[in-house]
């Protein structure tokens, strides 16, 4: 995704340029006709671009449901209602915060700097917009907002099954209102990283790694689930309650990713743009497919069984990996990028357990590690990028996201506490704060 401010220019360059030319040379009828015509093309481009934002936006919005289902399937029944509530709550809070302050903090007047302005996003009246704007302001806000919400969705899975609800929501408000917009402003807002030449097309770093860093900071400060690591260091598997829901969630995310990456072309009004969006669809799909196949084969080789949850993670890791550069890689390179993403999952999931970092859904391997991989591999196919700049981007954004998240988590820990008590954790989070069990009839209290 290019900086929003640049996009405007990009999307309507042709229209404006030609209009300008036409203004200079208005001496012949055909010229005039052409001028009007290009203006009309500008109209059409405006509608196409807006449509891309709206379609891309609703597909990414749908990813909120994907995260909800994936996480509902990966936690134990006693925490499923809570996980659902956190997911619909975080999506709602992200939307409100990104209007109140997030959007403008990310896009308004960044000018090569470190942040925008602390103001709510204003939307012009529909009839006040013109072809030269390139797209409807509200469609852009909507599209950018769902990216912001995605960042928060990533966090909820990692720290599931032990984190208190309201402190989590406060964290989400700060993440989506302040932290994500600030790192976002550095690149997509046209800040210092963008000026330096960092490249992150649809957000392997800006969205996925930022979410991953916030999740990692949370996992470290909140600690592992009580019964996850035995005293003698053994890992105790705590299998998720519903594999079909986890599968459904993954398919939803995969579908949504076409909006995530395809929409990040930010324009669809020309043949080249439409063609680019199409290539993005193809590469995105194949990277995900390669992530699945790589994860399945490696699982078979390493464990002699194919863990469904790892295969699902493999799809997502393939998707995250290709997100930093879904357009430029050739098809075989896209497949390779995705496959490495899948491999990362197979090895990183048990590694994290060895480090006693308890990540319920695998968001850290999928979003953080594959996000770094995807960002670092961009120079292989994208002109004008360099490994050094990519590295600077990954590290600086990572450092800020991790430290800022860490501070917020820490302050919350001191102020309100972050964990439920051990008893509440044993009984399940649904009892304490939600009061509604996910499956009251199935082998749970409530039926009898």
């Amino acid at each position: 995704m290019m900086p929003s401010i640049l996009t405007k220019a990009a999307a309507s360059t042709l229209a404006l340029a030609v209009l300008a030319t036409a203004a200079v040379a208005q001496d012949a009828a055909p010229e005039t006709a052409e001028a009007v015509e290009y203006a009309l093309a500008g109209d059409t481009a405006f509608v196409f671009n807006t449509l891309l934002f709206l379609i891309g936006g609703f597909l990414v919005m749908w990813m909120a449901a994907g995260f909800a289902m994936l996480e509902a399937g990966m936690v134990r029944s006693k925490n499923v209602s809570m996980q659902c509530l956190k997911n619909i709550g975080l999506y709602s809070i992200a939307g409100l915060m990104f209007w109140v302050v997030g959007y403008n903090l990310m896009y308004d007047g960044v000018d090569g700097g470190f942040l925008g302005s602390f103001t709510p996003k204003a939307i012009p009246a529909p009839d006040a917009e013109a072809a030269g704007d390139g797209y409807a302001a509200a469609s852009d806000w909507f599209f950018q907002m769902v990216f912001c919400a995605t960042t928060a969705s990533i966090v909820s899975g990692t720290i599931a099954e032990r984190t208190k609800m309201w402190p989590f929501f406060i964290f989400v408000a700060i993440l989506t209102g302040i932290i994500y917009p600030i790192t976002g402003s550095w690149q997509w807002g046209g800040g210092w990283l963008a000026e330096m030449g960092f490249s992150d097309f649809a957000g392997s770093t800006l969205v996925h790694s930022v979410g991953g860093w916030a999740a990692l900071a949370g996992a470290l400060i909140i600690g592992a689930r009580t019964d996850k690591y035995s005293a003698d260091g053994k890992v105790m598997p705590l299998p998720g309650s519903s594999m079909p829901l986890a599968t459904l969630g993954t398919f939803i995310l995969w579908l949504g990713w076409f909006g995530f990456n395809g929409g990040s072309q930010l324009a669809m009004g020309t043949i080249a743009d439409a063609s680019a969006v199409s290539k993005i669809f193809m590469n995105t799909n194949l990277a995900a497919a390669a992530g699945v196949v790589a994860a399945m084969i490696l699982c078979q080789v390493v464990y002699k069984k194919v863990d469904l949850t790892i295969a699902l993670n493999g799809a997502l890791a393939g998707l995250v990996s290709i997100t930093a550069g879904p357009l430029d890689p050739s098809v075989p390179l896209a497949i390779l990028i995705g496959a490495v993403g899948g491999a990362i999952v197979v090895f990183a999931v048990p590694l994290l357990d060895k480090l006693k970092i308890d990540d319920v859904v695998g968001a850290i391997p999928v979003h953080l590690l594959a996000g770094i991989w995807g960002t670092m591999v961009v120079p292989l196919s994208t002109d004008g990028t360099s490994f050094v700049t990519q590295f600077i981007g990954v590290v600086s954004i990572g450092a800020f996201a991790f430290v800022a998240s860490g501070i917020v988590w820490y302050v919350l820990k001191m102020a309100t506490g972050l964990r439920v008590t051990k008893e509440e954790e044993m009984a399940g989070l649904d009892k304490l704060e939600v009061g509604v069990e996910a499956y009251p009839e199935f082998a749970g209290a409530g039926r009898i």
Binding site: V235, P237, Y303, K305, D307, I310, V346, V349, P350, D353
Partner: protein, 112 residues
């Protein structure tokens, strides 16, 4: 009167019921249970961590019978439930002092 309690492999339930019905026993109560025994379970793997699943799904049957039927009931269950493979299960006989049919208030022999 006795309660004959048997732990069997789940897919043997129908055969056991048929065998008991053939004996004239027309009521029984069934529970889903997990069994732990010599039959070892299997290893599952979840996100890179292996773990043993040592409790296996079994079916527990409880059937109240009059004293004279105990031996044949035990035999019928054993024959119907036997596969010869480890994990076929156990039959336990427990004394039963009183039985009541709730609907009619009939007791003991009449209640079975």
């Amino acid at each position: 009167m006795k309660i004959v309690m048997a732990v069997i492999k789940p897919f043997k339930l129908e055969e056991v019921r048929d065998a008991l019905t053939a004996l004239g026993v027309h009521g029984l109560t069934v529970t889903e249970v997990k069994g732990y025994g010599r039959q070892k379970g299997h290893t599952e793997i979840y996100r890179g961590a292996e773990y043993a699943v040592s409790f296996l799904p079994k079916i527990k049957i409880e059937v109240a019978v009059s004293a004279d039927l105990v031996a044949s009931a035990v035999e019928a269950i054993a024959n119907a439930a036997r596969t010869g493979q480890i994990g076929d299960g156990k039959i336990f006989v427990v004394p039963l002092e009183k039985a009541v049919r709730i609907r009619t208030g009939e007791t003991d022999g009449d209640a079975l």
